[in-house]
Subunit: 294 residues, 2 copies
């Protein structure tokens, strides 16, 4: 059930991203590079979470299209900049050359900048079916989760921590900020769109935080045990960069236990609060995050 | 009259930028780097234009504070990224080390990203005295002027044109996009805030386009005739990078004539359409752009 759902939603999201980027023409290298960076066979976890949450809350998924597209653009820009020589210096991502390897370094920087900037254009695009009040709230929250107090903050501490032994609070800060904020963001946006607040909203955000953390722990595991063919980038790059990870701090066995705990806690929230057919998808998504091979 | 006005407004803007950035604390290098990049004794031409236009249109300047701060953050981020080794590779700006020279290259990239992202947080900050409809329109326009169809587009073509002989349309594209869009943006935002449309708006935008172009032509002249002590960066950097400029295409004499023409046309608009004391400031600003030494 989940597999078909993910495929269908991924296609829906890719089509919307493509329509949006096809409008951009010039300078050609920027327009092409933006598409290259975003339309790369990504899992679309973040936008799918947004649409799934909207449907769980009984809202039309169409209300979430601009935010779904914008979040994937921001996620993609962050990968483009992370891969740059001055940061992680990666040549491959998902089995293809990274954006700066394909188009050049100056181009990579500007393509990333253009994706981030255009995300805010998409969020405020015309003819939307949600109120301006909600759009303003969504822009505010998105810039919060993507900025110094969110993703960029996590990325900075991650880089500063390379080659150092860091403590668990620092590792947790990195994970909750570098990946966590952009995974809870789509769930929170869906709550804004649906106009729900209070306990149900808190539970959904808690779920998203747990699967966000689980997602990162699984990433750490795949960096050691994964298969290049499947993950599309060299195995062992964390170790090479001297990055502290869950396995490097806790060992592999304990790390897998922690992963299982997060997944169990996430599923428990859904079982106790959202016992519908739509809720079932959230349980399956948690399992998928634990079991994924890429 | 203009000199005092500019000083007073610059102080007002700097105070608001400072208040805004002082709220950011962690990661320390990002918070500090953002301040370093923005609070650097800049002229604040763009935010001043916003406040001047609001006052010309009889609106309180307080309505424009978030946009004034945000525009200066976006302008500053663009300078931080332009100065990076992969782009213009500049070590000095306004007489101080560039941000990446001061904090490191990875940090420079992330500080720029953080400024751009935070600008959208400021634009949508709480407790504003303009309507959500107008805020949405301002975010849309800002992301348009700063993105692939605006500043980033101009920057990309500028880089692609290095070491080549380019034609006038290409040079004009670079100037109208790289600097022009972010100079007409504050004027257009003031019109949105004041709710004016039609002929008066068009005339004001035309004025801003003329002084934006004049500003860039003057920059080209200063890169040849300027004084390091005053402009705060080495003279001749355009020539060194093989950039086409107005003087390289037209020669210095013709370039100065073209500058004078733009200034005269800008002043004519104000004389015929905005004959008030507030309008007088726009005339003086045009003269200031022509005569500035930095």
């Amino acid at each position: 059930m989940l597999k078909n759902y993910l495929k269908e939603k991924r296609e829906f999201i890719d089509e919307n991203i493509k329509n949006c980027l096809d409008e951009l023409k010039y300078p050609q290298v920027i327009a092409e590079g933006m598409k290259y960076a975003v339309l790369n066979g990504g899992k679309r976890l973040r936008p799918i979470l947004l649409l799934m949450t909207l449907e769980l809350l009984g809202e039309e998924k169409e209300k979430g299209i601009p935010a779904a597209v914008a979040i994937e653009m921001i996620h993609s820009y962050s990968l483009v900049h992370d891969d740059l020589p001055a940061l992680d210096n990666d040549d491959y991502r998902r089995g293809k050359l990274t954006t700066h390897k394909k188009y050049g370094e100056a181009q990579g920087i500007l393509i990333g900048d253009a994706l981030l900037t255009h995300a805010f254009n998409v969020l405020t695009s015309k003819n939307q079916i949600i109120t301006p009040e909600k759009i303003v709230e969504i822009v505010r929250l998105t810039s919060q989760c993507a900025g110094i107090n969110g993703m960029i903050g996590g990325q900075m501490i991650d880089i500063e921590s390379e080659g150092k032994n860091i403590d668990l609070p620092t590792l947790q800060y990195i994970h909750t900020h570098k990946t966590g904020k952009m995974i809870s963001l789509p769930v929170e946006i869906a709550c804004i769109i649906a106009g729900i607040d209070g306990d149900r909203k808190e539970k959904l955000i808690e779920y998203s935080e747990l699967i966000g953390l689980a997602f990162q722990i699984k990433d750490d595991i795949l960096d050691i045990e994964g298969d290049f063919e499947k993950i599309g980038k060299p195995v062992g790059s964390d170790t090479e960069l001297g990055k502290s990870t869950y396995p490097s701090i806790f060992g592999m066995e304990k790390t897998k236990e922690m992963l299982a705990e997060k997944i169990a806690a996430a599923k428990k929230i859904i079982h106790s609060e959202f016992q519908s057919e739509k809720g079932r998808l959230f349980v399956e998504l948690a399992d998928y995050i634990q079991d994924r091979e890429k």
